[in-house]
Amino acid sequence: MLELITFAILAAVTLGSAILVITRHNAIHSVIWLVVTLFGVAGIYLLQHAEFLFAVQIILYVGGIMVLFLFVVMLVNIDVAIKQARFARQWQVGLLTAAIVLAEVGYALYNRGHGLNLPARPMVAAPAGNTQAVGMTLYQNYMLPVEIASILLLVAMLGAVIMAKRKLE
C-alpha cells in the first residue's frame, strides 16, 4: 500500500512537470521542470530496485545533460523567444496526431483486456548487488554493443565540436 502511494506521488510529479516542460514560455523554466521530471523518473527506477540506473540518471542526466541544456539556453537569445508565440502554426494538426498516437497505444495496451495481459507476479525482494549484476551482463553478454556505444560517443563528440566551430577551413 505504501509502495502504491509512493508510485502515485512519483507518477503525478513526473507527468505534471512533463506537461509544464512543454507549456512554459521561458525555456529556462522548461529546463528546471525537466530536471523535476528526471528526478521523478529516477524515483521510479529506485522503486523498481534499479539502484545503478537511479545513480546514472541523477549523475548523467540531471548533472550532465541538463547543465549542457541550460548552458545552450543561456547562450542563445531567449528574450526574443519569450515574446513570440509558443506554439507552431500547425499545432492543431500536431495535437490531432498525438491524440491518434495515444489512442493507438491505449488500444494496443488494453484491447478489451487482451492487449498487454501480463499476469500478476509478486515483486521479488531487492537482490543484493544490482550494480554488480548490471556490470557483469554489460561486459559479458553485451561486449560488442558497449564498443559500438563508445564509438557513437566519440563520433558525437567530434560532431559537436565541428558543428559549433565558427568556420571550417
Binding site: 512543454i22 525537466l34 527506477y45 534499479a50 545552450v72 547562450l75 501480463l118 549484476a133 565540436v161
Partner: protein, 100 residues
C-alpha cells in the same frame, strides 16, 4: 506491490506528452527537451519489464538509451548553436531554406 501495467501506462503517458511537445512547440530547444522526455518514457518501460521478467538485460539496454540521449543532446545542441549563429533565431518554423 504494483502491477507492471501501471509503469507501462506511465511510460505511454510520458511518451505522448513528449510527442505533443515535439509536434506543437516552435522553440527548437524545447523540441529537444521533448525528445528527452520520450527517451525517458522508453527507459521506464524497459526497467518495468526488466523487473517483471527478473532479468537485468532491460537495465543494460536502458544504459544504452541514456548513452544515445547524451550523444543526441551534444550533437543537437551543437546544431542549434550553429543555426542560431546563422539566422539569429531558435524557431523551428524559420528553418525553411529547403522550402519553396
Amino acid at each position: 506491490m504494483i502491477p507492471a501495467e501501471y509503469y507501462i501506462f506511465l511510460g505511454s503517458g510520458l511518451f505522448t506528452i513528449g510527442v505533443i511537445g515535439v509536434l506543437t512547440r516552435r522553440n527548437i530547444l524545447i523540441i529537444l527537451m521533448s525528445i528527452e522526455l520520450i527517451l525517458n518514457a522508453v527507459n521506464i518501460n524497459l526497467i518495468a519489464l526488466s523487473q517483471y521478467f527478473r532479468s537485468v538485460d532491460g537495465q543494460v539496454f536502458a544504459i544504452f538509451v541514456i548513452t544515445d540521449a547524451a550523444a543526441e543532446a551534444a550533437v543537437g545542441l551543437g546544431l542549434i548553436i550553429a543555426f542560431f549563429r546563422n539566422k539569429e533565431t531558435v524557431n523551428a518554423d524559420q528553418i525553411d531554406l529547403l522550402k519553396w
